[in-house]
Symmetry: C2
Subunit: 148 residues, 2 copies
């Protein structure tokens, strides 16, 4: 039986689709099959630190998926720069909890893919909550000073 | 006399150096000479919207430089993915107002460069203030609710 790791992504789009699919399903094996197994991969989650290297990135997804929230993600406003062995996609992620009328958070994401012997893999994911969504969250939450 | 626009950047590093140099000097012509003159360039300033296209990006720098602040920027923790016609750099920007003991803000930035007929140019700049720096700013500022 083929291992998940053996899966090939013939294009950057295929790798990106697999990334968001793994994210929605909170599937760690599928998520890490998308990433290049390299020491120089970079991942910046919204509000998170800058993680460098496959293991640090893997650990972050372990923690995110341990939270149990299965989020819906739709990407829009795609912009791409495609090279022969390197591709950059910038998208707006519309992220929401399950449910018809759940609030949607918009996140700006830059996804970088590299062509490896195992097909296209993710080398970087840089995401931050849009300023508009941040302001909205502050309106809805108590001011941070009350948390101290 | 050669126009500033005619300047060539032989490598992505040269274009990146020129980008931060123009930023520090608040030099609009030098800044826009770094950018690819294309409708699909993308710029996300910290706390800003997602700007697409040369004119929108240019207008944002007009506004930033009109503020008059000449900031010092040092980049560190460089990670690069370099292709034949596309390059991605991820850096931590340490940004500070002039002065010896000025507070430093750390910003995560992804810079994308494309090889054009006019040498390497910037095609994307995606920057956000690190969560650590954001938390620090909130500590130092009054909570947002008092602004309304």
């Amino acid at each position: 039986m083929p291992r998940a790791r053996a899966k090939l992504f013939p294009t950057p789009d295929d790798a990106e689709t697999a990334f968001y699919d793994a994210f929605e399903r909170a599937d760690l094996a599928a998520m890490m099959a998308v990433w290049a197994e390299a020491d120089d991969v970079v991942c910046i989650h919204p509000q998170g630190p800058r993680l460098v290297g496959f293991e640090a990135v893997r650990e972050s997804w372990v923690q995110i998926f341990a939270g149990g929230a299965q989020l819906r993600v739709r990407t829009t406003e795609h912009r791409s720069f495609d090279g022969q062995s390197l591709a950059v996609h910038n998208v707006v992620e519309l992220v929401a909890p399950p449910g018809e009328n759940a609030p949607v958070t918009s996140i700006f994401a830059t996804n970088v893919f590299v062509l490896t012997e195992g097909g296209w893999r993710m080398a970087m994911h840089h995401a931050n909550v849009s300023a508009e969504a941040q302001a909205q969250a502050r309106e809805e939450a108590p001011p941070p000073h009350t948390l101290h």
